[in-house]
């Protein structure tokens, strides 16, 4: 089952390598990873997605918690949550295709953020499924380049992850 694990860790040299190293060392997989400093500059917030069974995710979260630099941790998929991923995509768009691409971008509530004579640079934000669906809707061969931020998210409601 797909899990989104979100953690607060010390913003120190080497703490990210400990998290990533743990996954390699214990044979867990990371499907996406995103990390940045928080409003408190001593802390970073890291979100990763992984595929794991209930017992595996229990081990993963326990092992992550055991790392000295991991301060707090939550498995967002345990409760209601909002998840988002950002994708930038360069799409071939010339001639008749140009309007068709524009229409598809509108349907998916994407934005064209750069315009070239024969292509668009499109920005799209949503769940990973939505981004996948968009890629599916674009004609094969039209996709020139993509980059995805990896999933990030927060729990719904009053629940917060803080010190």
């Amino acid at each position: 089952m797909r899990r989104i694990v979100s953690l607060i860790l010390e913003n120190e040299a080497g703490s990210l390598s400990r998290v990533v190293g743990l996954f390699a060392q214990r044979n867990y997989n990371i499907e996406s990873l995103t990390v940045a400093v928080t409003e408190d500059p001593t802390l970073s917030r890291l979100t990763l997605t992984t595929n794991a069974s209930d017992s595996q995710i229990e081990q993963i979260t326990k092992q992550l918690n055991k790392l000295i630099e991991v301060v707090k941790l939550v498995d967002l998929t345990e409760g209601d949550h909002v998840e988002r991923e950002l994708m930038l995509i360069k799409i071939k768009a010339s001639g008749a295709q140009r309007a068709e691409v524009k229409r598809t971008v509108d349907i998916f509530r994407g934005q064209i953020v750069d315009v070239m004579p024969n292509s668009y640079l499109v920005q799209l934000i949503g769940t990973s499924e939505k981004l996948d669906a968009f890629l599916g809707a674009i004609a094969e061969g039209a996709i020139l380049e993509t980059v995805r931020s990896g999933v990030t998210g927060l729990a719904r409601g009053d629940k917060i992850l803080s010190l």
């Binding site: 010390e10 080497g14 060392q25 055991k66 991991v70 301060v71």
Partner: protein, 590 residues
């Protein structure tokens, strides 16, 4: 970081270099001994060490031995072992010893020199990314960026190494940070707070109550404990609980001595080479309580067939150890000592809660266990008309000669299992071996560390001609410091455990498990100024051992030619065997 000690510019504070800050911090931690080897990146530190006489340094002949010495010191005392090595090869040589300590949860602080800060990342001479290389095998590590951080980092390192589930901590210090020309004020923090680290101090009372209720209803109970009982100083609590319940007890390789080995409630070691009674009782039990044990694959045999009838209670300080390999019914996270003490308190006057049927069932269970025990699975089959020495007999003779009162270290292989099975330990911290990592070459330097910690004690290293050669250079260190350890070399001319597996699983094809060019060990140790004996006849065995142990202040190497055909039994049937499935002798299985 919650404190920034050293930033304080108080003129009252003593000014000193980074190297001196380090040595002073180690003194503040109560470090008695440093095990190490100098080199370019740690020369400032060694110079600061030279100018004091509170900490005694032992110069080894290879950094791996320094870590094992510190490890033996730590295992036999419960204190944190401290190591000092240089950058690059000094650091990488220490890796095996750090991994050994990590796998067995041994408190250790390893200080490694690093190249100067401005050279880091340039592939400079003797540079290696020690923090990176050691990352998967440490509890934590630090790369010190500024000299002023040293006292706080050292305080944190010792705190982390020794608290919670203990483990090794690496502190990597670039050479420029220890420059004798740059001075900093010294102030040692009384305590450090690490906001993300708070090991539990007691178990959940509700869970303990549930566990006690389950134990009092058990009809075929079993107490299984491991190295956590030793590292967590929980021996007393364990004995109290076992006595109050009157239930059978078994130990992992790492737990031996945590419960008296000669006590009738003790069924011996369990696992791959466990006794028939311990493994059979494990398989058939209906309630299992695990204390400071982690259901290692060398214990469980096939996990899917492990303890098929048992409800399982598990006590461990480390939440990751709980339900990692085997599903657990009542998990209890907490220090094994306080948790077992709480068990013991709840078991006061618990007699009334046990039904007559339950008591009768437990007494039937004991009858069953005694039937297994009667099969005497550790019986040594001595050929009638031969003087050949059986390796088991060596350990039995060792027990007799040392009156069961020695510290015994071992290396890894058949001799390790013979030592574990044939030398019952009545006290904790007496049996010292590399259980988790299985490090050949561990036993001798570990024995040296034990001897440093206990100068008057009898320390024996049971080893084999394969393992001893992995750190035999330390004979020289022993000459230098007069460490009178006794080396009991079970010499069968081959890598015995490898050969045993080749006999059992590879139709006797002994691929590279032989030792064709052994030294004359007697002459070898004599060249270092030690005493050597060689024995090959069983009639001489006890006398020679007695003579060896009578030489209190000498290192004695006893080279004992043992039966090269001997296998270690019992042995789990694998693959796909359950706990109770064992080979009891060549071709004989349960």
């Amino acid at each position: 970081m919650t404190e920034q000690v050293g930033e304080n510019q108080d003129p009252e504070l003593e000014q000193m270099s980074g190297a001196e800050l380090l040595i002073r911090s180690l003194q503040e931690e109560g470090v008695e001994y440093l095990f190490g080897y100098p080199g370019g990146a740690v020369l400032h530190i060694y110079d600061a060490l030279f100018k004091q006489n509170q900490i005694k340094h032992f110069l080894v002949r290879h950094e791996q031995a320094a870590t094992h010495m510190a490890d033996g010191y730590a295992r036999s005392t419960g204190l944190t072992g401290t190591v000092l090595v240089t950058s690059g090869p000094g650091a990488t040589n220490a890796i095996t010893g750090i991994a050994t300590a990590y796998m067995d949860s041994i408190p250790m602080v390893v200080i490694s020199g690093q190249v100067q800060s401005h050279l880091i990342g340039t592939d400079s001479f003797q540079e290696t990314d020690m923090v990176g290389i050691s990352r998967p095998i440490v509890k934590h590590s630090f790369l010190v960026r500024q000299a002023s951080e040293i006292p706080t980092v050292i305080r944190k390192a010792f705190f982390l190494a020794s608290s919670g589930r203990p483990g090794p901590v690496v502190v990597d210090i670039p050479k420029d940070i220890t420059n004798p020309l740059e001075l900093f004020p010294f102030e040692y923090p009384e305590q450090v707070a690490i906001r993300s680290y708070s090991p539990s101090s007691r178990g959940h009372t509700g869970q303990i109550k549930k566990a006690v209720q389950l134990l009092l209803k058990a009809e075929r109970p079993m107490i299984y404990f491991g190295g956590g009982v030793i590292q967590g100083n929980a021996t007393e609590g364990l004995i109290e609980v076992a006595r109050k319940l009157g239930y059978p007890v078994t130990s992992t390789l790492m737990g031996l001595g945590g419960y008296p080995g000669t006590d009738p409630q003790f069924l011996g070691m369990l696992g791959m080479h466990g006794t028939l009674e311990a493994n059979s009782a494990m398989h058939n039990c209906d309630v299992l309580i695990a204390a400071g044990a982690r259901f290692d694959d060398r214990v469980t045999n096939t996990v899917a067939k492990f303890c098929p009838y048992a409800k399982i209670i598990q006590i461990d300080i480390d939440p990751t150890s709980i339900a990692k390999n085997v599903a657990v019914d009542i998990p209890i996270v907490g220090p094994v000592d306080t948790v077992l003490e709480e068990f013991s308190r709840m078991l006061e006057n618990s007699e009334a809660q046990r039904t007559p049927q339950q008591k009768e069932a437990v007494s039937d269970w004991w009858v069953q266990i005694e039937n297994w025990r009667k099969q005497n699975c550790l019986k040594v089959n001595r050929p009638a008309d031969s003087s050949i020495i059986k390796p088991q007999e060596v350990v039995q003779a060792l027990f007799k000669v040392t009156k069961g009162d020695a510290f015994v270290t071992s290396d890894v292989g058949q001799h390790q299992m013979f030592a574990a099975l044939y030398y019952p330990f009545d006290l904790p911290r007496r049996w010292i071996n590399s259980g988790g990592l299985g490090t050949m070459g561990f036993g001798f330097p570990a024995a040296m560390g034990v001897q440093v910690a206990h100068p008057e004690a009898t320390v024996a290293c049971v080893t084999g001609e394969g393992s001893i050669q992995m750190n035999i250079q330390e004979l020289s260190t022993c000459s230098q410091y007069g460490l009178p350890v006794k080396i009991i070399n079970l010499n069968n001319g081959s890598l015995g455990m490898v050969k045993q597996w080749q006999d059992m699983q590879y139709e006797g094809r002994h691929s590279h498990s032989y030792m064709d060019s052994l030294p004359d060990f007697k002459q070898l140790v004599e060249s270092y100024g030690h005493v050597g004996f060689s024995v090959s006849k069983v009639e001489q065995l006890e006398d020679v051992l007695a003579e060896a142990f009578s030489l209190k202040d000498r290192l004695v190497f006893v080279d004992i030619l043992v039966d090269p055909e001997e296998h270690v039994y019992p042995m789990h049937v694998a693959p796909n065997g359950a706990m109770r499935d064992m080979w009891l002798a060549k071709g004989v299985r349960t």
